[in-house]
Symmetry: D2
Subunit: 328 residues, 4 copies
């Protein structure tokens, strides 16, 4: 028989993402709706071990749905990777009479939650919050939609100056292991080429393609490069190679950086966060544990945390083809 | 045996929507990719009857992916509703040696295309372009995502002034027959109540709910109202009723209006438009006709135009529930 | 000899404007810098009479520089217009040991401050915060720059749909007594005509001008109308008149409304607010009173409150001429 | 007696800036208003020497007021620095019967124009277009206002993630020789420190200040660094120094890069560009030459090109003080 849940703790962990605040708000309000208590845990697993807790009610989360970042702060914790650290965290939860946890974060966060659950049989539920969209079990992670719009806006701006000067720009976007952001913003930003970790185009084919593009009359070009791209060691070396192997090109590099993580969440991310918060809390109340909440076929679905971590989020091959056709 | 398609015409019709230009660009470039010709038809069915055509190649659609509106213009046509009008249009297509049409628009547009196809056995393919998301056979119409972000941005701004003055705002958003925009932006904008055509809350329950919300400590409130809402004859009458039946409230109305149709399309709408253009052209090349291209379960799928028109786009009931919980 | 000032109260009053929070932050931090105390007064003169005060330090205003609205809330007060009301306010200030006031608002706010100062010889300093820019003694009021960008963004969006449909749009913007917003956004939005309170173009000349514009090949048009325009009784009557007197035009109206007051302040408004807060506090510390801080020739200057209220903020006639030339 | 001007050429040169298109539009329409011809010259001095000209009328500049970049493209030219290059340019102007030039750009552009005028007594007028605001004779160059808003928006986003993680961010903004952008966005973005070329704070004082700030309770910090800052060799070395000399800090770097040059111009820049275009053309028509149009005390004024180049644009010392007070 599932233990009865009277108090839920919520925290954010790992890289922050737009929509995390909307998710916190949703968890808090869903608890209020079901007349159970809710506690905010600061700085992820760090705050969990230190007992850095604060009771939250519907009013505590007023006016945060449109704010970027996370009011509960985030952190990465080395200590929680030790048995001692997790033991400390468990004691804090017992002391605070918290019966279950909602963890908002990426796969690092979920790995911690999974181990914690195994060791202490403590109910946990995950909400995928990361701009990279690299989690299995959901078509969209929180922040992915917003980050794409942020990046596309930046590419639009860079294109203004690129086309005024007939330049070639390499633009680095986030995505260490997966090319979701790069692939989508590349299509949306009208990029001539998109370099993603999943595909190694090869430097020669890249130069070939750029030459072809120039020949066909294009005077400026954008190449979108995911951080984790395998083609060059890094984007500056990529630039150097193209500089050396193509004539008459003025090549520039722009690394978009941390700006991509911030900003007011899009409508999509706010709605998604609201749905995920409801689903996470209500699943805990139904006695479920060890799942990640996700969006699959436009519905809220549960995926075992284990699968969410081990599964691989794959890029949509159709998009690769669309990208090729669009840069005709 | 399907006739061989060598030249495709593309037009936009009905209310414009962000992403229409990205769809035109995609149709044109997919034609170029397959080495077939493409012709832009101005002002929808009006231009079709007048032969207001222009050959388009990959360069013609340069720099339009991020532009709102439609470079091919749009119009509503009375004449095309007559047999004579359609006959004229057919003659223009024969004269220009156009073999198939891609129609970007809403159900009015598709109805015209369907009749035209029936009368002349002329290959047509539809792309759903309307901010209202009221088309069956796709989870998202072009422009829906962008419009939601535009509206949420406006609601955020109005909330600044609402909460500075402890006011109650009625905000009218688009949606004559369906409440998709209202429901999503209502959740994302943190609205206390959402009034949609699909549901008649009743004036008394609305006032009741607002009083409860005030009692619980909220000092400012947002009520999102879809154009087609059935509760009051119009938003100003709604305001008057609440003014009369609640004390101590400073009630205001804001009608967001046509601004909702414009603006640079979101990343999502640009990618969707690019995918739909590819699918529409390639489906015609495969000999298919009389379908609408749509996004179903994150894949491009075809729905017979007939079903797209007659089917009903239903609101997600889960969202209604999320909205209730969030306004706890 | 000026009394020594050890504690300053700050409040916002009248219509809210972007930049008010940045001004509050600046007042609070300038007080901290000079080691004097600062007290936030809620809901303008209402809170002043009720003693709705809160001590503020540098940390209290963290993270508000980029927020629209006002964290101190605003209100209009009838009671403060009475001698009794002002007496109550004075007692509250004595009780809280507040030595001087910084009032952020428009001319209604300043009139209150002026009378209060006359009656109780209480040091007051004004900061002009209103999007209308209708205050004498400063080239820019707080919020004016932000509001212009908000409106121009909306006009750009409306133009997308106007030009897709060959429509004529009347767009109403704020400005009951002055046409500053209308004149600037009209030029920036590429409006064909701009109707402002300072100038009565006359309905016939408007229609004449629109006909000429259509003749010259323009297929869509934007007319920007200030709320306080004298040409028609209201914007809907204006539309009706044009509808009746021009053929072949599809005329629409958009009233931008309260959205214009909100949003994150522009860089200009944030810097201006920061400068004004410093100047207001330091002027009080220098023993000055009864002035409004303003931007004149890019410098912070003081204008007697009396003049700020009675003086008239005039539109720049050069802009009228530029507008005429641009709509050639 | 000034020669009669019947045809004016306009071009953009040097780094592009938002508002350049609005300036081109204004020049073209002011010519149309005065019934003289206007010719667009592509790619700055390069196109001038090649005769890459295009006649422009009011319709040619339709819909560009809100576009970033420059439709006339820009370039830097080595050849125009030679007597032969300028001779070629002069011949092209004679051939095309162009009587005067309007040059939109920065001091490199104006230097070219000045020499060209001296050698051929050819009427020239300059419009200051550069985001850096480093031109003497105008309080604002075209693009400066827009760039500031772009940067502040990026800083707001970075602050979301900085404050979620208690990080210190070094953010590099444009400004090789002057700190105008850095100083303003630093204040507007709530930066703890602002490093500009005009002032060498010294590394030790920077570290001292950051330590003080951390001690006072700030858990995250933003330091805005102008490209041309003299404190460290570059921003990455700066980061390394702080990393080594401060404990417990997670330091990150973000270089905003070319994004700062693009985007739709702000209302201010559009109006300024419109005013400058009118003033430039009408000054030429009055027989004036060799001036730069500028905004001084909110009026359009002329400054001899010579002074504009040799003069120095100075930062506002009041802003330095405001910045110090705000980071209390």
């Amino acid at each position: 028989m599932p233990r009865q849940i009277k108090k839920i703790g919520v925290f954010t962990s790992g890289g922050d993402a737009p929509g995390m605040n909307a998710a916190i708000r949703s968890v808090v309000r869903t608890c209020a709706y079901h007349n159970i208590e809710c506690v905010g845990i600061y700085r992820g697993y760090e705050g969990l071990m230190e007992g850095d807790f604060e009771p939250m009610n519907a009013r505590s989360v007023k006016g945060i749905i449109n704010k970027g970042g996370t009011i509960l702060k985030s952190a990465r914790s080395q200590e929680f990777r030790t048995k001692e650290g997790r033991e400390k965290a468990h004691q804090q939860l017992i002391k605070a009479e918290i019966d279950a946890l909602v963890a908002v974060g990426g796969d690092g966060t979920f790995t911690g939650a999974l181990i914690f659950n195994e060791e202490f049989d403590f109910p946990v539920m995950g909400i995928p919050g990361t701009i990279d969209n690299d989690i299995f079990g959901t078509t969209h992670t929180l922040g992915f939609d917003t980050a794409q719009n942020t990046v596309v806006d930046a590419i639009d701006k860079i294109r203004d100056t690129a086309s005024s000067h007939n330049r070639l720009f390499f633009i680095e976007v986030m995505g260490r292991d997966v090319g979701h952001i790069a692939l989508n913003v590349g299509i949306a930003g009208g990029a001539e080429e998109i370099l993603i970790p999943e595909e190694d185009l090869g430097l020669d084919r890249l130069v070939e393609s750029l030459k072809r593009s120039r020949k066909s009359g294009k005077t400026s070009s954008i190449v979108v490069v995911a951080e984790g791209d395998k083609i060059g060691k890094n984007i500056f070396e990529l630039k150097d190679y193209v500089d050396e192997n193509m004539e008459g090109y003025d090549v520039r590099v722009s690394v978009l950086g941390h700006m991509q993580r911030g900003g007011s969440p899009s409508c999509f991310d706010r709605v998604l966060a609201s749905r995920m918060g409801v689903k996470a809390v209500e699943s805990l109340l139904e006695g479920k544990s060890n799942y990640m909440v996700g969006l699959l076929k436009n519905k809220m679905e549960l995926t075992p945390l284990d699968n969410a971590i081990k599964g691989k989020s794959k890029i949509n091959l159709e998009l690769l083809r669309v990208s090729d056709i669009m840069s005709t």
